[in-house]
């Protein structure tokens, strides 16, 4: 039926094709995939005798079979739990897992929406993404209402029709298409921070009255994350509008955790401002106050057309995707670089940071990566110093050893001299004694022969 998604045939006898989203392609009837193990560990860690993989397999296949027997109808959890033998807590978890991954209650009509890939990404990111509000996530159910399509946007700068996303400034009532925005093609005096990104689906131009804003705030205070209730409370506004308006409120940003990326934007800006300052790329991480609005950095006004293109693309693509892409690119580059230039880590990291900066559009965790590089470098230097010191120590030790040995040998020598001298003395003494004996004997003439003999004997 549809060419964009991977159809997966269930074991049903009829010839219908069951649609399964492409991110659930791993599913197979007879096997349990590792992401199932990850999401539902209770069945696989043998903590309880009844929660075995076999039981999980049985529940899962049962639920899917039940859904596929009538694919046009969404099955509810209660249907399932009434017919499955088992404890309702684990059944609910299996059901939720299958629901999130689109293996049940997945309707093919969802395929015809534009920007489908963003929806897919949103629902795979943990399943709880529905509760996170983000200005860049289009709500596909609302995007095709007729009155919204009628509001086509013309870019005030280049007078072309805006597609997919455009940038709107409340302050000056300007609309820029993505390309103009990135090129900075707006009147003097207007900075890029005054623009906010608007998807085609968010085209309602109705202003929020005071009353509505009050209602919104009240509702948010009461219901905090339940945007459905908030939307009900605020008369006449859809969920998405409420969320968008809430974000636009001056304090709304805090709830979205953008202060980090704002800070980083500044650092990144400072870095990029001097493309020739390759050397201080790492060291100078200037402090900046966190900005309140999401700032898209105007890279494009630098002379590099490639970067302009890349920033345009990332402006189109949105925050999360650009972030993911940048991270992947950075790690890949780092690996490649590592293998190529082992000797100049600094050079590498600088390069990768620059390139990552291009693709990231300032909204990534490059900050952390830089810090990691700096740390790594300092560690390397420390290690080198340690090694040097180690070698010094070793050579010192060895020299000392040699010296000691020499000293000992000298001592021995001395001793030997002394002993030899003593020996000489004794020899001389002996000789002297022999002579005296001889002379005494020679003084007695009778004993001449005897002394001669003895002398002869002695001499020999």
């Amino acid at each position: 039926m549809s060419a964009t998604k991977t159809p997966v045939k269930g074991p049903t006898p009829d010839a219908d094709v069951i649609h399964v989203p492409s991110y659930s392609r791993w599913f197979s009837w007879n096997n349990v995939h590792e992401c199932e193990v990850r999401f539902l560990p209770e069945f696989f860690d043998s903590r309880s005798p009844s929660k075995t993989p076999r039981v999980y397999h049985y529940y899962r296949n049962f639920i899917i079979k039940l859904f596929r027997s009538n694919p046009s109808r969404k099955i509810t959890f209660t249907d399932v739990r009434r017919t499955l033998v088992g404890d309702v807590g684990s059944i609910r978890r299996v059901f939720d897992f299958l629901d999130v991954w689109g293996l049940i209650n997945y309707s093919p009509s969802a395929l015809n929406k534009p920007l489908k890939w963003e929806d897919g990404k949103d629902s795979t990111s943990g399943g709880a993404a529905a509760s996170k509000s983000s200005a860049s996530a289009p709500d596909s159910n609302d995007s095709l209402t007729p009155n919204k399509e009628a509001l086509k946007r013309l870019c005030t700068a280049c007078k072309s029709l805006c597609t997919i996303a455009c940038f709107f400034s409340d302050k000056y009532d300007l609309t820029l298409c993505a390309r103009c925005y990135v090129r900075g093609n707006h009147p003097v005096g207007v900075s890029n921070s005054d623009f906010r990104r608007v998807e085609l689906s968010e085209m309602t131009k109705t202003e929020w009255t005071e009353k509505e804003t009050m209602q919104l705030l009240e509702a948010v205070m009461h219901y905090s994350d339940d945007w459905k209730k908030v939307a009900q409370h605020v008369s006449g506004r859809s969920e998405k509008d409420c969320i968008a308006q809430f974000i636009k409120l001056p304090f709304g940003e805090e709830f979205l955790n953008f202060s980090d990326s704002g800070e980083f934007n500044d650092k990144y800006n400072n870095q990029m401002k001097g493309p020739s300052d390759v050397d201080n790329g790492l060291e100078t991480i200037p402090k900046s106050s966190p900005s309140k609005r999401m700032r898209l950095t105007p890279l494009a006004d630098s002379s590099n057309p490639i970067m302009a293109q890349a920033s345009f693309l990332s402006a189109l693509a949105g925050v999360e995707i650009a972030e993911a892409a940048a991270k992947a690119a950075v790690t890949a580059l780092y690996d490649v670089g590592n293998r190529a230039h082992k000797g100049s880590p600094l050079f590498l990291t600088k390069n990768t940071i620059q390139e990552a900066g291009v693709t990231s559009n300032g909204d990534t965790t490059l900050n952390e990566f830089e810090r990691a590089c700096v740390e790594a470098n300092s560690l390397i230097e420390k290690d080198e110093l340690d090694v040097e010191r180690g070698i010094e120590g070793i050579t010192e030790m060895q020299m000392k050893e040699i010296q000691d040995k020499i000293a000992r040998f000298e001592e021995l020598d001395l001793q030997m001299e002394k002993e030899r001298q003593q020996y000489e003395q004794i020899k001389n003494q002996l000789f002297f004694d022999q002579l005296t004996v001889l002379f005494r004997k020679s003084s007695a003439p009778k004993t001449v022969e005897r002394s001669e003999e003895s002398v002869r004997i002695d001499v020999s």
Binding site: S48, F77, R81, L84, V85, D87, G89, R92
Partner: protein
């Protein structure tokens, strides 16, 4: 999951449902604003309490019940859970107990009647498995029957376990020491089927003829009228 402490029948065991999984049977019967919601299912007491609210919300959403049901359902589940938990930690004597379990339930159009013996001491028994096999063997088509059977078994086991806790407490208060154990055993044997008599030399393991009918499972499929009649009678009895 708690493991059985000793296989000896004399030692007390910490309270738990005597099956492989320590699941609590929960029965809901809430009436509000003219709408009656009856349900029965098994709950895992190890699940965090937040699960209760999630489950209640889910059920109300799925069955399109009015919102006040959520709190009532959650409360009911919670109170049954706390009751269960209050028994946990206390001792129970299971003894060499083989208990008769009786099934007499009606699920949609299927009427089930059965009676069988169940070993209370067997802590690795599995009512869910029994229910699955039962449905498969008797070719029951209605998928809601399985959980109902498992639930009925569990409920009865739960009641028996609670009784044994109560009697254990009584005995501990009234008598102490060795005498207490013997007394307990004697009383147990009287209440349930006497195992020794059944499996001794003189009698055979084969059941007597007249008892066979009682112990055979019967499954009846009712027609709509019969269902309505039965329901009306049940409600009358309830009042």
């Amino acid at each position: 999951m708690k493991l059985p402490a000793l296989s000896s029948s004399k030692a007390p065991v910490k309270f738990r449902i005597p099956t492989a999984d320590n699941l609590v049977p929960i029965r809901l019967d809430i009436e509000f604003d003219g709408q009656r919601y009856k349900d029965a299912f098994t709950w895992n007491p190890c699940d965090p309490d937040s699960e209760v609210v999630i489950f209640a919300k889910r059920t109300v959403k799925d069955l399109k019940l009015p919102p006040p049901f959520i709190t009532q359902i959650a409360q009911s589940i919670q109170s049954q859970l706390t009751e269960f938990r209050s028994y946990e930690g206390q001792d129970m004597y299971t003894g060499a107990k083989i208990v008769p379990i009786k099934l007499d339930l009606r699920v949609n159009h299927t009427l089930i009647r059965d009676r069988f013996l169940w070993d209370l001491n067997n802590f690795s028994s599995d009512p869910e498995d029994f229910a699955r096999t039962f449905c498969k063997d008797l070719k029951i088509e209605d998928p809601e029957v399985g959980p109902a059977i498992a639930f009925a078994i569990r409920e009865q086991l739960y009641e028996i376990a609670v009784e044994s806790v109560a009697s254990a407490k009584e005995n501990r208060l009234s008598k102490k020491g060795r005498r207490g154990f013997e007394h307990v055993l004697a009383s147990k044997a009287g209440g349930s089927t006497d195992v020794m008599k059944l499996f001794s030399f003189k009698s055979s393991v084969v059941r007597k003829r007249k008892e066979r009918d009682v112990f055979e499972p019967t499954v009846d499929i009712l027609s709509n009228d019969e269902v309505d009649a039965l329901e009306a009678r049940e409600e009358q009895n309830a009042r």
